[in-house]
Amino acid sequence: MILYAFRRLLESVVVLFAMSLVVFLSVYAIGNPVDILVSPQADAQEIERAIRGLGLDRPLWEQYAVFLRQAAAGDLGHSFAFNVPAIGLILERMPATLELAGAAMLVAVGLGIPLGLWAGLRPESASAKAIMAGSILGFSLPTFWVGLVLVMVFSVWLGWLPASGRGPTTDLLGVPVSFLSREGLRHLLLPAATLALFKLSLLARLTRAGTREALAQDYVKFARAKGLATRRVVGVHVLKNILVPIVTVIGLELGSVIAFAIVTETIFAWPGMGKLLIDAIGVLDRPVIVAYLLVTVTLFVLINLVVDLAYSALDPRVRLAEARA
């Protein structure tokens, strides 16, 4: 197990390294930040100074080497636009995005799995059919549209919930969060619901399919033949089996929920990394874009690592296969 964890860690480092190269090349190969950052009236000398100041005059590989050395030291360059460390900008916005993504995932898991279980256990019931129909909607409606409709209904018509911003934040171990205050929670609700809808539908469908499949298995019939209560058959024998794919999907989706937060953050003016990225792309603020991509990739890789470890803890067959490997 420890060996496996170590190997996965090493793999993660390699992935990060490869990603840094790809990100660096793709971002530094497009556009010219000088055009944007230096005033059009500037003379050649000023432009020259700006280029040298930003290190853009040196060969690409040298820029990358500098970038890598600094990245390893936690320095991803200064934002062209704000002239402050890019990584600082990203990290400052990260808690807002993580809170939004976490809240969305919580909603998706907390509703999706029970709804899916219910629909799987009573596939013929009207409620199960309603759940399935709803999940198809949740699947196919675009996020921005859902967000706008929610704002329309709950903010504009009913006036129950605020339409934008993060509301007041409370410090939790030095990190500003919204969910600890009533007002913050009210701000969090709509964006989290918007972001959650797709994942909720996905999880409900996945759980339903898994439940249906597990219920048809001999081991469930055998568990019933042993005289176990339905509660135990479903809660232990069925759930533990379908948890393996569900945890995998949750892990993978946690990464994508952070990425998809971009749209939701833009609609609800949620001050997270996604909104920062959109602004940075607008002015070709390369260090910020690079910092965003690298931070997101790091999150992805970390989450995958945790999921893999959780996966092997859940499924004894995987655990054994690794022990042999």
Partner: protein, 323 residues
């Protein structure tokens, strides 16, 4: 006279499918006494498993028991509610399934799967349930049971898994065990071992055993009585030696003749011509009619059960011997 451990009277279990009613079990009666073994034989689809599941109250929709009585130690199981049935399952009546690779839950340890069976029926501590689990594994011949409790099913061979399933079935000392082809998926040596062990375990505990199989050779070596099923009905029933040596029903005769070991070497095996009818579209009258060389116009009606002098029962208008 003591009451039979299991008495099934005129059991009918039908499946109400989109394509019509499948009469999987259609008027089955038999009984098994404590310490006795009944072999339930018949070809694939004849309704053996459905009979077993009916007794446990585990027939799922679209199937339903539509008629008959199932008396376990004198108690009518059809009169019980869901909780009453649950309390009996795994306690007074247990079942072993055909495929040991599928019956154990892959993500729970053997120890958990044994102990939960104990705790579903008796209020005992975890430690006590674990002790019982260890003892149950030892009883079915699993070495170092203590270490095995923490193992998962995939760490066991097929034969070992079936032993675990048998240990689970027997752990609460049931009055009745239904074994649904538990050795079919295993190789011959293991099959022999498990048969012998099962026989002695059941004899030792005084449980009644219903052994479902399509293998007459197994029945000959194991059972006291045999019931031959065809298309949802029992066509012949009686002491195993009498039925296999002098079958009365043409279908039983055909089954006996198609077993290699019971015929002289070199003689060609005989087969029953034709195919079993689909239980969704049973012909009126005797269901074996289209395959039977003794059929007559009388067989267009449904044959009733005839009791013979030596205590056998046969459903045929023209049995091979006068009853």
């Amino acid at each position: 006279m003591t009451v039979a451990t299991l008495r099934v009277e005129n059991l009918r279990t039908h499946f109400f499918t989109r394509h019509g009613v499948v009469k999987a079990v259609d008027g089955v009666s038999f009984e098994v006494r404590a310490g006795r073994i009944l072999g339930l034989v018949g070809e694939s689809g004849s309704g053996k498993s459905v009979t077993g599941f009916s007794i446990l109250g585990l027939v799922d929709p679209p199937g339903r028991i539509v008629d008959g009585r199932i008396l376990l130690e004198g108690r009518d199981l059809r009169a019980l509610d869901a909780e009453g049935l649950r309390a009996l399952r795994g306690d007074r009546v247990a079942m072993v399934f055909q495929d040991p690779m599928m019956t154990l839950n892959p993500v729970l340890t053997i120890g958990t799967q044994l102990a939960e069976t104990v705790r579903a029926h008796r209020r005992v501590s975890r430690a006590a349930a674990r002790d019982e689990a260890r003892a149950a594994l030892a009883r079915v011949g699993i070495a170092s049971p203590d270490a095995r409790l923490a193992a998962y099913p995939h760490q066991f061979s097929g034969g070992m898994r079936q032993r675990v399933a048998i240990a689970i079935a027997l752990i609460n000392r049931p009055a009745l065990v239904i074994a649904d082809e538990p050795t079919t998926a295993l190789d011959v040596t293991i099959q022999g071992q498990i048969l012998a062990e099962m026989q002695s375990l059941v004899r030792a505990s005084g449980a009644a055993l219903v052994w479902i199989t399509h293998d007459l050779a197994v029945v000959a070596g194991l059972a006291d009585e045999v019931a031959v099923m065809y298309a949802g009905r029992i066509v012949e029933r009686g002491p195993v030696d009498a039925v296999l040596d002098r079958p009365l029903h043409p279908y039983t005769r055909g089954l006996v003749d198609s077993v290699p070991s019971r015929r002289a070497r070199g003689e060609p095996l005989r087969q029953i011509p034709g195919m079993a009818p689909s239980p969704a579209a049973l012909p009126a009258g005797c269901a074996f009619r289209s395959r039977c060389d003794r059929a007559s116009a009388a067989c267009l009606a449904e044959p009733g059960a005839t009791l013979t002098r030596d205590g056998r029962e046969v459903r045929c208008f023209h049995p091979l011997e006068a009853p």
